[in-house]
Symmetry: C2
């Protein structure tokens, strides 16, 4: 009898703690420009270990070589020539940087030229916090795992002469230069310079590291690529345009292209483990991080711990449904939990924002890698809903950055403001988070910095051309640069102003509220009733002509627009869709134009400006089925359990966050607007464990009464048994917990 | 009456302490490949500050550009385009290295490219410990001085925008790479990699530095030369093959070509002083050195102290005679007191020899830059005679090197054995020093290391091919490399063996004495009675044929010989000239052949193998006048008070030491042989203050009874009133002090 009791108990436990990490496929997004990597990754880790297969052999083993085209990827699934495993990596970012500090095991003759020591590979496997492969050329098994600030690599060598190489010359970043010091036959320390983000940034930042090996090498040394000498010097010089070894050398080596090597006589199947800790503050801190997070060489424990941490976060949402859907869902949630990543050392040290020097978090966390033009739209709202304690830390970091640099971040990378993309997205994130209930930050300071950005007319790094924007109500097209579209910029400023207005209201500042609300309505000044587009306009009030709303579709420069064309931006006033509908002549024309966006191939699922559009049908009564249908269609068309399973650059998790929301059947219509648009969930049941430190509810459960694959349309919805009157639900309602029941139907309900 | 007493007293004091530094012309040797520099130099200083004018503008302002030919010079008098002031420099060395850490003041627009910011200059002045010039392009006055381990630069700027640049990318060394960190608006620290000595060495060594400015800059930052990008990347990258600024950046920068800058608004005639300390151990030590030796920015005091230190050393020899002769004499003595230089930090730290790690001298000195193939011949014997306490420190350093690395040095550079040139010269220096009376070192250890070099047959880094040498009695020509002449090498080994034999005798080891004496006589196996040459021989005993004794005259590879031809080496058995005379068939043929060496232009005053030859006439009774004549002739032909005043590479002071000895009328016939050959002194009186810690005498005075320019030949000589019976004098006699009187005659005395 007792036995019978135990079985269901175990089952129930097992259900509650289903190992959802099994559903994560880290290869999703590694093709089709997704720019994710399949390497060992800890949630929000500042270190990660990724296979690096984008260098050399262009058009041969490597279809996409990093220097042949714009490339922001350390790993591309189609590529086959691997030249190491990088320890600092960006995920889903559209500009090249990081992808540096490469370890590589080799065998046979010692070779320093990655062109020559690179190898094809097979038998890849990846799961959260773990990656493995076998190098064809060397028959070395490589296994990787990581913690927040360290990577660990376990190499299983064949019998013979074996090497472990550390290459600081090769990497994704276009910034050159590094320094290293072989401390002993089992340790190396140094730094690699990162930066030159998007090719043009002048800001740079060293990443410091310490690597320790589980076995002392027979010999160890360094190398450096010597330059190309000319004329007679080329005859005399020992290493001309070639790699020079520094055997048994134990002082610093610095240069553009340097490395360290460790040589071993290995036995058959001998494993050697390397652990590598990083810091953005100092070598000393990198060593402290390594000693704290990786005291031994416990590969399995590191792997288990990473997996547990992922399980802990991912299982905050439990879903029931088709395994493949679970895979794309949890993989997307996984990709939503990589950036922003922590940057403070174990002792709290971190590089100050926008100024020299080191700060200390005093026990708190400091985040970095804010791709805010992307992530303000849905990633931060998703974190706010599912992980408000993390979103709080991120907002706190943003406010700290403003206190250090004088300005909120826009595209912050390792404490550097890279000024990539347009708008004032930090204001949006701060207002949205506060309104959602994340209020444990210095909101007065945050508000003041946001207001500073909104009101500083000249020399405003966050809002270029804010003077004209303020005076004219829009950014004029007159002196527009190649990549700062006047319409796009204006639209982002309207959203920021609208969010600022909402925050002003919440903070009981009615004058500010009115003022910024008014500014946010100025989008109407760019509305061209003739074309129905938000159209570039000169300072003198004349429309930009000749005007082609299609221009910009393929990322080519288009006056007025950045990363998109007029169609991609035409509904981009998410804070005032009813107003836009009115401008467009009412519901029917709006639905017509919105539908046309999709039918004329003017919708781009791979970029941010228009990703809210499929939900906009919800704004017109009786047309909500179109959103349900469109979302279903977009998910099945663009998201797959395969390397090409993300439509384009994941954009630091933004396209993944879109999927997570969409599959849960809800989507934040606009940051700062607490309504989610509702569509058909992809699962039979979705259970969200709410954080009661922030939210009243304990659990929110979304259930479909019918299998969604058979009944894709919503018939009706009940929240805690009360039927919903429309296809929106308020954030406060949701986080109060309870059950949202979707009654589905196979037929369109008009 | 009292007044009359005072005058002669002052005169006498004034005579005793004549400011002999006024006779030093640091420009001597800066043309004609002398390879000395006119910069600010402290005696045996490890830092110095030299104008650097060998980069760019080849064939235009710069007649000899550093990359257009083999170049070992930081400064060439004919050149006119200056690109900075280097803080580590070699003097009179034939291979390029050091010449790095360049400071440069500029004005106007900030420019990082030395090709562009370089300037012509005028109004150069130089004296021991001081150099000045005015930069034409900027109208900036530059004044330089230095201590043992620091340099100090005083710049006087015009009114306007002014800059101080620190360039680690430019320099004489062919080793690339460095690191720097702008610590504040008035301080920068870092290191520059040195090495690749003679183009081919694989050994490298960082030199660390800290520089502090007397005034905080308005702005300060770093720069780096970005590489040449290819294809589409070249379009996107911000700095393609160009200098990228890192404004207000305060972390480390590393790379092949980097620098730091400090910007000022200067007033008319505003002076800014920069002090820069170096260390071969660490940045921390460089800072300690700087703080200890240069606590303020006291330019004048630094200059005075350097001059006083030079005065202290140079005045150990006081001469009376023509001012021009005094100038070439004291300039030569000055050039004899630069290398070897100290390398230990103020706290005693220094880089260990031939192994990683740091040693500490425990209050003693550690020397470096031993060009022993050159300096064993005369520089060390000169130091032994004039500065035995310094020679003792140098020998102690050599023994310490052997204890650290297992081998005595050959061509030691900054703790690296560069293996340049041939032979086993350290054995020679040690035996010679000991025999001269410098015995306060671990002679047993030194002897053991010398013996180890003599007897280790295989894998002998000091004596390659020692096995064949030992077995055959000579190094066979069979498998000779391009630059390791079998005859030259054998001859060096014979001298080393002979010196080792002398030391064995002194240490009462009769068996060793006999053994090494025998080996030293094996030169006869290379004596070819047919040609009268020391000729390359195969292992099977056959002479190398066809044989051209002229080959090698212009430094082209010549089988058997290095840096010379058969003629240059034909008398190169200084330890057994009587034996060689015998082999050559007696006195008359010897004199004939020796004379022919000079008449057929087969004597090279600019290189070491044959520089003893003009003294060899002394070995034949009645022919000594030829040495007197020849030395007079060589001095007046090759040594001048002008930039071309040294016949060729000074070779770390060797050609200068030749001049010092020759002008004093004595020359050590062979290291290990305590006899000096006597020739006509160049002065009326030479007074040497002997170091009584080593020598019995207090003063040695050499006087010519007649003015040597009018009576160039020796009639007779009296040492302490006893007439000498031949034209040699023993070291022990000399250092017992007293007077050596030369009675001169205008006629040849046969």
């Amino acid at each position: 009898m007792r036995f019978l009791f135990i079985v269901p108990l175990l089952c129930s436990l097992s259900l509650a703690a289903e190992h959802v990490t099994q559903y994560v496929n880290p290869f999703i997004g590694t093709s089709n420009f997704g720019a994710t990597h399949p390497g060992a990754q800890y949630p929000h880790g500042m270190a990660s270990v990724a296979p690096f297969n984008v260098a050399f052999r262009a058009g041969q083993e490597n279809k996409f070589e990093k220097d042949q085209a714009w490339n922001s990827r350390v790993y591309i699934h189609e590529n086959k020539f691997l030249t190491g495993f990088s320890h600092v990596n960006l995920s889903g970012v559209g500009c090249p940087d990081l992808g540096s500090i490469l370890l590589m095991p080799t065998t046979g003759a010692l070779e320093f030229d990655a062109k020559k020591y690179g190898s094809t590979y097979h038998n890849e496997q990846a799961s959260p916090g773990y990656y493995r492969t076998t190098l064809d050329k060397y028959q070395v098994d490589v296994e990787l795992s990581s913690t927040l600030r360290t990577g660990i690599s376990r190499y299983t060598f064949p019998k013979g002469q074996s090497h472990i190489l550390l290459n600081l010359g090769l990497g994704l970043t276009n910034e050159t230069g590094g320094m290293l010091k072989v401390v002993s036959n089992s340790e190396v320390e140094g730094f690699k310079m990162l930066g030159t983000f998007c090719y043009h940034s002048e800001d740079v930042r060293p990443v410091y590291f310490v690597a320790k090996l589980s076995k002392a090498a027979k010999t160890a040394g360094a190398w450096k690529k010597m330059p190309k000498y000319q004329g007679v010097e080329a005859e005399w010089i020992g290493y001309d345009d070639n790699y020079k070894p520094y055997k048994d050398y134990r002082q610093e080596v610095a240069g553009d292209d340097i490395g360290a090597y460790f040589q071993f006589d290995t036995n058959e199947q001998e494993t050697i483990t390397v652990k590598l800790g990083i810091s953005y503050v100092s070598i000393k801190n990198a060593r402290q991080n390594l000693n704290a997070e990786q005291p031994g060489f416990a590969f399995e424990q590191t792997k288990d711990k990473a997996q547990q941490q992922w399980q802990k976060l991912l299982s905050r949402v439990q879903v029931k449904g088709q395994p493949t859907k679970k895979t794309i869902f949890y993989s997307a949630l996984y990709h939503s939990l990589i950036h922003p990543n922590i940057i403070q050392d174990i002792n709290g040290d971190y590089p100050l924002m926008g100024q020299p020097g080191i700060g200390n978090t005093q026990g708190k966390k400091r985040y970095s890698v804010y791709s805010l033009w992307d992530t303000n739209r849905n990633l931060h709202p998703l974190l706010s809903l599912l992980y408000p304690e993390i979103q709080s830390e991120m907002v706190n970091s943003m406010v700290a950055m403003a206190k250090e640099s004088g300005w909120l971040p826009k595209w912050e990378l390792l404490g550097m403001e890279t000024q990539v993309m347009v708008g004032d997205p930090a204001t949006v994130v701060i207002a949205d988070s506060y309104l959602r209930g994340i209020q444990d930050f210095d909101v007065i300071a945050a508000y003041d910095y946001a207001k500073k950005a909104a009101l500083t007319l000249d020399n405003n790094p966050l809002r270029p051309e804010n003077k004209q924007y303020t005076q004219l109500g829009y950014v004029p097209v007159d002196d527009e640069g190649k990549w700062d579209g006047s319409v796009s910029t204006s639209l982002e400023y309207y959203i920021a102003d609208w969010n600022l207005a909402q925050l002003a209201k919440a903070l009981d500042r009615p004058q500010d509220h009115q003022r910024f609300l008014q500014r946010a309505k100025n989008y109407q000044k760019l509305f061209d009733s003739k074309t129905g587009m938000l159209r570039p306009k000169y300072a003198n009030g004349q429309w930009f002509s000749p005007y082609d709303p299609q221009l910009g579709r393929n990322f080519e420069p288009a006056p007025g627009y950045i990363e998109g064309n007029a169609w991609n931006y035409r509904f981009y006033v998410p804070h005032d869709i009813p107003g836009l509908i009115n401008s467009l002549g009412g519901d029917q024309n709006f639905i017509k134009q919105l539908t046309q966006t999709f039918t004329t191939d003017n919708f781009d699922m791979a970029n941010e400006p228009d990703i809210t559009y499929p939900f906009l049908f919800n704004y017109v009564k009786g047309e909500e089925w179109r959103s349900q249908q469109k979302i279903n269609q977009l998910i099945s068309t663009h998201y797959h359990n395969s390397p090409e399973g993300i439509p384009g650059n994941d954009d630091a998790g933004t396209l993944s966050a879109w999927l997570v929301f969409s599959m849960m059947g809800l989507y934040p219509v606009s940051p700062g607007d607490m309504n989610y648009a509702l569509v058909t969930p992809s699962f039979d049941e979705i259970s969200i464990q709410l954080n009661q430190a922030y939210y009243a509810g304990r659990t929110l459960t979304l259930k479909t009464q019918q299998p969604p694959q058979q009944a894709p349309y919503i018939d009706k919805m009940h929240l805690n048994k009360r039927e919903l009157s429309d296809y929106f639900i308020n954030h406060q309602q949701l986080v109060s917990g309870g059950e949202l029941i979707f009654t589905l139907t196979s037929k369109v309900k008009k």
